[in-house]
Amino acid sequence: MKGLLLRDLRLAFRAGGGFGLGLAFFLIVTVLMPFGIGPETATLARIAPGILWIGALLACLLSLDRIFALDWEDGSLDLLATAPLPLEAVAAVKALAHWITTGLPLVALSPVLAVLLNLPAEGFPWLIASLTLGTPALSAIGSFGAALTVGLRRGGLLMSLLVLPLYVPTLIFGAEAVRRGADGLDAATPLALLAGVTLATLAAMPFAAAAALRVNLR
C-alpha cells in the first residue's frame, strides 16, 4: 500500500503528472473574483467564505478523472485488480494520494487567497480547519465518481454531474463554518457536521469505488 501511495505521489509530481492544475485553477478563480465583483471590501468579505469553498471544490473536481483513468488506459488497473492488495485498499490509497496532491496544497494556499478576498481575521482559523476537514471528503467522493466512469471516453462530464450533488453537504457545512467564524459566531456545529460527513464518506466510499471498479473491469 505504501508503494502504491509513493508511486502515485511520484507520478503526480513528475512532469505531466497534473500537480498544480487544481492549485492554479483555485488561484485564478479567487484572484479574478475581485475584478468581476468590484473592490468594495465589505462585499468581498461577505462572499469570501463561499468563493473560497467553491473555488477549492471546483479545483478538486478538475483532477478527479486522473485518479483511475490513467491506470485504466495503460492496463495497470487490471494488474492491480489481480494483485494481493484488495481493490478497496487501492481505491482508498488512490483517494489519499489525490488528497495529498490536490486537497492539501489547496488548504495551504487558502489563507493567502483569503487575504485577497478580505476575509476577516477571525475567519482564518475556521477556513483552514474547515478545508482540512472537508477536502478529504471531496477526494473520497471523487474517487467513487472516477471509478464509476473509468471506462468511458470523455467521462469527465458525466462524472461531474454524478459527483457534484454529493459535494453539496460538504460545501454547505464548510462554507457555513467559515462564515460563522468570520462573523465572530460559534462555528463548532457546522464544523462537527462537516467532520461527520467526511468520516461517513471515508468509511463508505472505498467500498463503493471498489465495487464500481469491479463492474467496469469486466
Binding site: G3, L11, R14, G17, D74, G75, S76, T82, A83
Partner: protein
C-alpha cells in the same frame, strides 16, 4: 497446487463467447491456447485471472496464485525501468528484482524512463514483472507481441524455468515458443454458437 477448469462459460459485454471449456493443469504443465482472432482467448484468460466472473462452470485454483499479463503493458511512462519493477515487486510482497532484470536483459535500461523505451523493450519490462510477482500460475495474453526472435527465445526460457520450478502457465499465442512438452488447446470448438443474444431485451425484440 493445480489449475482445474470445468465446463466454463464466459461472456464479454453480455454476449456469450465460450461455453464448456475444460482442462486441468498440474504443477510444471503449460497450456498454449490457440484460436483465430476474436475466438475468446482474451476473455478466457481474463476469466482465469478473476477479472471477469464466469457465467457458468468453475475455476479451481488456489487463492492469489494467478499473475495476469494482458495486451497493455501496465507501465508508467514517467517512472524509470527500475522504479516500475520495484513498484510491482513491492505490491507483490517485496521480492528482489535482480532475477527479473537478468532474465529479460534489462540491466542496461534500469535508469531509462519507461516512456522512452521501444515497444519491444516495454514488453520485456512488462514480462519481467511476472518474475517479481512470485505467483505460481501465469496467464499470458499474446506475450510475444513486438518481441524479436532473440527475446522470444529469452521469454521461452523464462517460461521453461517457471514450469521447471513447479509453476503453471496458460499462454495465448500464435507463434511457436520452442516449448516441446506443453499441451495445446484449440478453443474454436468451444465458441458459443448461439445467435448473438443481446443482453438488452428491448433490442432483441423478445417478449417482455
Amino acid at each position: 497446487m493445480t489449475l482445474v477448469v470445468d465446463a466454463l462459460s464466459c461472456a464479454r459485454g453480455g454476449v456469450p463467447i465460450l461455453t464448456g471449456v475444460g482442462f486441468a493443469l498440474a504443477p510444471g504443465e503449460g497450456l498454449v491456447l490457440r484460436g483465430p482472432n476474436g475466438s475468446g482467448k482474451t476473455t478466457l484468460l481474463r476469466a482465469l485471472a478473476g477479472l471477469t466472473p464466469p457465467v457458468a462452470g468453475r475455476i479451481d485454483a488456489p487463492e492469489d496464485a494467478i499473475a495476469y499479463a494482458g495486451h497493455a503493458d501496465g507501465l508508467k511512462a514517467q517512472l524509470s525501468v527500475a522504479e516500475n519493477l520495484t513498484f510491482w515487486a513491492g505490491v507483490f510482497g517485496g521480492r528482489d528484482i535482480s532475477a527479473a532484470v537478468e532474465g529479460f536483459d534489462l540491466a542496461g535500461l534500469l535508469d531509462r524512463r519507461a516512456g522512452n523505451l521501444s515497444a519491444g523493450q516495454k514488453r520485456r519490462l512488462s514480462l519481467a514483472r511476472l518474475l517479481v510477482t512470485g505467483r505460481p500460475i501465469w496467464c499470458l495474453d499474446e506475450p510475444t507481441v513486438s518481441l524479436d526472435t532473440q527475446n522470444v527465445a529469452r521469454f521461452g526460457a523464462a517460461v521453461r524455468g517457471h514450469l521447471d520450478a513447479g509453476g503453471i502457465a496458460v499462454i495465448a499465442t500464435h507463434i511457436d515458443l520452442g516449448l516441446e512438452d506443453v499441451q495445446s488447446l484449440d478453443i474454436t470448438p468451444f465458441i458459443a454458437r448461439t445467435e448473438r443474444q443481446s443482453a438488452d431485451p428491448f433490442l432483441s425484440g423478445g417478449a417482455l
